[in-house]
Symmetry: C2
Subunit: 339 residues, 2 copies
DNA sequence: CTGAAAGCGCTTACAG
DNA sequence: CTGAAAGCGCTTACAG
């Protein structure tokens, strides 16, 4: 039989309330009493029963807020699916989720939205951009007792509770390592990034370049274009890159825009190895028909799921996440293990 | 506020016990009363609070049994780690786990062990071999009210609750698809399987061969050897295969024995593309130093974790798993995303 | 600084 | 066929 608070209280000859005060550091306990309770708890091997705790927590009616700059971005559909999955699990414990999505990158507008949500929520899961104004807003929330979990993209210089995302450097290294297997003889590479303003995109490129230097002396990055995460721009830019560089043998697509990139390659009648990031429906189709050789995924579903579970454990279990940063896996997806 | 049993009982003018009887199909309720309760539950959108249910379930003192033929097999260390992780989570709800591991494939001995454990457990997670005697034993347990979840390897023709493992066909197809990217010009392939008696090993090979036929006309399987999941045997057999087939360009290692295979290749001074299954510590080392090009993983940690979580949900949540078969992902692991 | 009591939502013997 | 009551383990306002 598992040890309960009642057993500790009986062993010590104090009330259960007192044991609770000690074990949850609520203060107002005589030092000797506290020491005795801690000793007995340790001796008996006490572990809190989460069911009891969760049931008691029902009275607080917790709500978790989710705010994402995700509207119109395919990638986030799977993140949202993970959030919904976790929601349906924690709903069974009486916890609610309020999801708000926004379109584009409007800093002030998002900050305003954060303030507005704060009155109704006990914790915020936030997908945003790495901007000092947002960092300040996060600190405000933290001060008013609402912890923030950053999702997918971290925010530097703020007191967020933790970050759930993926290791972008490793993502770039994985793309490069895979290209090394495909083209052991060397490669002339064009890089199609989203924007040079994105920290994540740049980290992927630098991971890729890093491994080129370490292991693949036959790899050369000949050009970097920006797709602005838009297929039309990607198409135009890729077309131009291909005519500038007839020697290209591979393209690394760092962010959105793979469809445009592939269209330009196809029209030019070139046979290039394309490695892309993030399995969206359109990227899946291109991989199935062979235009994309492989996709580096970042477990979007798990990202959403994990963020909510950490939030739940923090609120109900009163336990800070064990790690400050939670990275999901960098998956390699080809036609055969895509779905 | 979430809807509770109390609210339904008040809305219907019956006791909470009666609502419980209806909602959990315990019978002994007048049909009209039952209809009314169901109508109100649906109208109010009732969902069971798991915390309450789990707390009440504490009185049952559930124990989950785990029985595995895993001793001395590196692969299962990660499966066990997943089981331990899940254990530490559900222990917080007062559920216990008893793990028993055995060495080798002794059918009668394992059947005996199953019977012996059955007196102490409420559900069994079982890793075994696909044998009719085990199937019969599983049915016995099911009949005596102890459901069985098969882990990693399924058992045919029995009434197990569900299966947690991976899609071996897809695993073989993924290995082949990856080799297709590495060797677009074709490959002469040697296959090193564990034993031709293992259903899983055979499924991997047939998945591999399937895709050869569908997509890679330049691929030829020239030879199949058995490692008996043993490095020494693998070494000897590979050595013989290499001298029989000087034309080989690739080896697909289906089961354990990759170290032996690689040693033989190295000694022969041959430069072959090796694709292996399952990231064990020794396979990781060989991948890091480039002797293995890529590893197809089957998420061993997740397998163990998922099996326990399904068991927990079945016992405490009284909910049958939604699926009869739970497949983990087939991961592609190369040096850069190995750890 | 401490205790007694009520409550979170579900289940279960027991009485009728 | 149904209800009243106790209990699972933890937390919390209240009284002292």
């Amino acid at each position: 039989m598992a040890v309960t608070i009642r057993q500790i209280s009986e062993a010590c000859g104090v009330s259960r309330g007192t044991v609770d005060r000690v074990l949850n550091n609520r203060g107002k306990v005589r030092p000797e009493t506290e020491a005795m309770v801690r000793r007995e708890a340790a001796r008996l091997g006490y572990r809190k029963n989460l069911a009891g705790q969760a049931l008691a927590a029902r009275k607080k009616n917790y709500t978790i807020g989710v705010l994402m700059l995700s509207e119109g971005v395919e990638f986030f559909d799977e993140v949202l699916a993970g959030i919904r999955q976790a929601e349906s699990e924690i709903r069974d414990y009486g916890i609610h989720i309020e999801v708000v999505t926004m379109k584009g990158y409007h800093i002030e507008e998002q900050a305003e939205r954060m303030r507005e949500m704060s009155s109704r929520i006990h914790l915020l899961i936030l997908h945003t951009v790495n901007d000092p104004r947002i960092a300040r807003e996060i600190d405000c929330l933290e001060e008013s007792g609402i912890p923030v979990i950053t999702l997918n993209t971290d925010v530097e210089g703020c007191r967020r509770l933790c970050h759930v995302g993926c290791d972008f450097i490793k993502s770039g290294r994985t793309a490069c390592g895979l290209l090394g297997l495909i083209s052991p003889g060397g490669a002339q590479i064009g890089v199609a990034t989203g924007t040079v303003l994105s920290l994540g995109h740049n980290q992927r490129i630098s991971g890729f370049a890093q491994l080129c230097r370490e292991h693949f002396s036959g790899f050369e990055i000949k050009d970097v274009i920006e797709t602005l995460d838009d297929d039309e721009t990607a198409y135009v830019q890729t077309k131009a890159m291909l005519s500038r560089h007839p020697e290209l043998t591979a393209v690394y697509v760092v962010a959105s825009g793979a469809s445009g990139v592939c269209r330009a390659i196809k029209e030019a009648g070139r046979n290039l190895t394309v490695i892309a990031n993030d399995r969206t429906p359109s990227v899946s189709r291109l991989t199935e028909n062979g235009q994309i050789a492989a996709v580096i995924g970042q477990e979007p579903f798990q990202q959403g799921y994990k963020a909510v579970i950490l939030a739940f454990q923090y609120l109900v279990g009163e336990s800070r996440p064990e790690q400050e940063v939670w990275y999901m896996k960098n998956e390699i997806l080809i036609r055969e293990n895509l779905s």
